[in-house]
């Protein structure tokens, strides 16, 4: 094999193309290399990461990633550099507005990032350091401590809010979202969610890791003309949840 092609494919070459991290994270180059497929990266004020001023609960840290100021967003990611499971959410807003809010686990003080990929392949990024107590990923979920996780597994709740700007969907699923990092509890989490219109066309697709908080909850937005949505979720053991919501027009 020629030396030149080896160099081009090496991680070092990819790292050198990365812009310096405004957060000076020790894991920036590694995580970017792992997650961003070698595509160009810009830190861009058009992507907004909204978070609370403190991580009151490291098992349930609210994050909102908003790329509505960008045109042609094809993917929207939420990750935490220093989590053992860094990438929490990989959202494809196929026929949805590029905005998502959810809650993630934090295993320690870490940069939390939002990354929006536009159709030209470029990643537009925002981020912030968050101080957090340990154990968000490595302590058992509360429903396992209570013992009732199986009674409500996959239970789906949801509601729509209509405004002239957007149809907003909020939904939640009961699930322990086991990380596999707790002794004797293997990884077990919801990994796929699809939101479709009444005709079965995909509006948005989510790929989730177990670093999404227990009993995951999401806020998504769609064009206001939409009449309703179907939510389909599947966990790593193949349990399916499904539910439908129709707009109640006044």
């Amino acid at each position: 094999m020629a030396g030149a092609s080896l160099a081009a494919a090496s991680p070092c070459a990819a790292e050198s193309a990365l812009p310096a991290d405004p957060l000076a994270s020790p894991m920036w180059a590694y995580r970017a290399g792992e997650i961003l497929d070698g595509k160009p990266v810009v830190f861009d004020g058009k992507v907004q990461l909204s978070i609370p001023m403190l991580a009151e609960n490291q098992r349930q840290f609210p994050v909102m990633a908003d790329a509505r100021a960008l045109q042609g967003v094809v993917r929207l990611l939420i990750w935490a550099d220093l989590n053992p499971i860094p990438l929490a959410v990989d959202y494809r807003p196929v026929q949805a507005l590029p905005v998502i809010a959810t809650r993630i686990k934090l295993d320690q003080r870490t940069p939390v990032r939002a990354a929006a990929q536009t159709a030209d392949g470029v990643w537009h990024m925002a981020g912030a350091w968050v101080d957090a107590a340990g154990g968000g990923c490595s302590a058992p979920p509360l429903s396992r401590a209570r013992g009732d996780w199986a009674d409500h597994l996959g239970e789906l709740r949801g509601r729509l809010w209509f405004s002239p700007q957007a149809l907003r969907l909020r939904f939640s699923l009961r699930h322990p979202m086991d990380t596999g990092l707790v002794a004797n509890i293997p990884a077990f989490h919801i990994d796929q969610v699809a939101v479709k219109d009444a005709d079965g066309n995909v509006l948005g697709e989510l790929r989730l890791q177990a670093s999404v908080a227990e009993d995951p909850a999401f806020t998504l937005e769609f064009a206001p003309a939409l009449r309703g949505v179907v939510i389909e979720a599947r966990d790593t053991s193949g349990h399916d949840s499904r539910g439908q919501l129709m707009v109640e027009k006044p």
Binding site: I51, P52, E56, P62, A133, R159, T219
Partner: protein
């Protein structure tokens, strides 16, 4: 964390066996005399943080015939020891009784500076500290590190009940309430008619809700309003003689409860709820945004479950 605690406890012991530097040279907290034989040691109106060593809650020292009485010994062994020396200087007596108003570590963890036999609380508080004390210790060690040296979880005697208490010869009236936590002790000092409320009342500092049941808390505030008193010493913030602190705590809690419900009902996410404007009338309250966002974290998921129908 246990390992680190054990190490730090060992370090504190070594120090004590040597010149006992930490125990004698640290500056004493400042006491403010607010009545006959009654002093308040004000906590910083801040979150628990490195710079304040966790000393954010108010402590009270009472001069009683048979010894000093200390209410809420603060966050750490060193701070509890400093309060003990302060009480000795003010009353010329050793601390003979320590009362813990509720489970929270900024009020309770300094108890380990004293003989467990003289540390008293409601039965509920004994239960709460027994169950959650080590988690609190972990949290405070993470934030405060060296200021926590030697601090261990002391489970108080759960032997207090509503009614009169002869506290080293000084007459107190005890009230067993709840709402800020599952067990909130309130003390009325008969001699000065000072009402020492623990964290059922905050003053010019936003109330914290990590174990709150807001409906119960409002009921408890009604009970406190019915207790005649000349002076109110809140758990956090300056003392109050005009009934302002009770009204302010009630107003804040009502606003928190209404705003959380409105936010959930209008489809806001937690992040958006945390960013909602706080009314101007709460401008005097320190840490308002911080405590509002904490309250969102404490209550939002539960309210969502009620607001989102099962599909």
């Amino acid at each position: 964390m246990l390992g680190r605690r054990a190490f730090l406890a060992g370090a504190a012991l070594a120090l004590a066996q040597g010149k006992a530097l930490a125990a004698t040279s640290a500056p004493l907290p400042k006491a403010e005399q607010v009545g006959d034989g009654l002093w308040v040691v004000r906590g910083a109106d801040e979150p628990i943080a490195w710079g304040n060593g966790g000393a954010i809650a108010n402590s009270v020292i009472l001069d009683a015939p048979a010894g000093a009485v200390l209410i809420d010994p603060g966050p750490s062994r060193l701070y509890g020891q400093a309060l003990g020396r302060l009480a000795q200087r003010l009353c010329s007596k050793k601390v003979g009784m320590v009362l813990i108003t509720h489970l929270h570590p900024d009020h309770a963890m300094g108890a380990c500076a004293f003989d467990p036999a003289i540390v008293h609380a409601l039965p509920q508080t004994r239960k709460d500290i027994g169950e959650q004390g080590s988690d609190f210790a972990d949290a405070l060690y993470r934030i405060l590190a060296g200021a926590m040296q030697g601090t261990t979880v002391l489970t108080p005697q759960g032997d207090l009940a509503a009614g009169p208490l002869d506290a080293m010869g000084r007459g107190l009236q005890l009230y067993a309430l709840n709402g800020h936590s599952a067990g909130d002790l309130v003390v009325l000092d008969e001699q000065t008619q000072a009402l020492i409320t623990g964290d059922l009342v905050f003053h010019n500092r936003a109330p914290a809700t990590p174990h709150a049941r807001i409906d119960q808390w409002q009921d408890s505030l009604s009970k406190l309003e019915a207790i005649p008193h000349r002076l109110l010493i809140p758990g956090h913030g300056p003392l109050d003689t005009g009934g302002e602190a009770l009204a302010q705590t009630r107003d804040w809690l009502g606003w928190v409860q209404d705003s959380l419900q409105r936010a959930v009902d209008s489809g806001l996410d937690m992040v958006e709820a945390g960013a909602l404007p706080i009314p101007d009338r709460f401008a005097p309250l320190r840490q308002a945004r911080y405590e509002w966002q904490r309250s969102v974290a404490h209550f939002y998921a539960g309210l969502e479950t009620q607001a989102l129908p099962i599909l």
